[in-house]
Amino acid sequence: MSARTDNDLVARVVAANDTAAYGELIRRHQSQVRNFLRKLTRDPAQADDLAQDCFLHAWEKMSAYSARGSFIGWLLRIAYTTFLQSKRRSHRYAEVLQSAGQVADLESGSYTRDTEEVSDLERLLAVLTDEERAIFVMSYACGLSHREIGESMQMPVGTVKSVIFRGKDKIRTRFEIEDHQHG
């Protein structure tokens, strides 16, 4: 089963509702999908719940997968939509941000380039919009190419590039302000 390509497994799922083939697809991609959602939600438990919903939605929509783009790109698109739907429903994401006090930290916290660097950058990612953050995570954490991200987010490659450029600019500006404020 593991020697088969994603598209072979998808074909089995579509043709025969093969849950074993789908199980293999989940095993292959669960890590990336869960990591992607963890970066978006910053809550591992919520991210895992959303990942389950994402794989359930993907099962339902499997016949709509065109196999033109990569399967992981398609999955991440569903994961992103699931995340947005969940956010709209509960506004839980805003509560998490508020309870973590990330915005306040950005204003008052100190920035040091040491072991806290990762969490600092993740805080800085909070200044990005959902779409920008999703594209950043797809690009830098999941290693998707700009073309794959474009297919996944249903936008031209040029737009993906400009979103990344704009996001980097925002982060750079924030870093510079932090550095300037704290010498």
Partner: protein, 120 residues
């Protein structure tokens, strides 16, 4: 050629790109029963859908039983209008109501069984 240039441009990473990559990179998450959990939910969903129609038919049948009996009673009263020879002839080749019900239930059970075998 154009796509090669685009790919090359994409591969050229500046310091910010490398920093972002290093910061956002994370360890692979161990499956730890996650995929089995999703598959169990999918199988449960398939079963719920599979049972939904037969259960709906049974519930509908329960609700429809009384009006159906009344309708049959009325129809049977109308049967006096039908020529006697025709009624006698039809009872010989039409199955009785219990036989028809049993047959329908058997057919439904066989179809359900075949679908289960097909999905396993």
């Amino acid at each position: 050629m154009k796509s090669k240039i685009i790919n090359m441009a994409e591969k050229i990473k500046d310091a910010d790109d490398r920093l972002l990559e290093a910061m956002l990179r994370s360890e692979p998450i161990i499956d730890d029963g996650f995929s089995d959990q999703v598959i169990r939910r999918i199988r449960r969903r398939i079963w719920v859908r599979r049972l939904a129609l037969p259960v709906a038919v049974v519930i509908g049948g329960v609700f429809a039983a009384k009006p159906a009996v009344q309708l049959l009673t009325v129809v049977s009263q109308l049967s006096v209008l039908i020529p006697r020879e025709f009624v006698v002839m039809s009872t010989t080749w039409l199955p009785s109501f219990p036989s028809a019900l049993l047959g329908a239930m058997l057919l439904a059970a066989i179809m359900l069984g075949l679908r289960m075998i097909e999905d396993e």
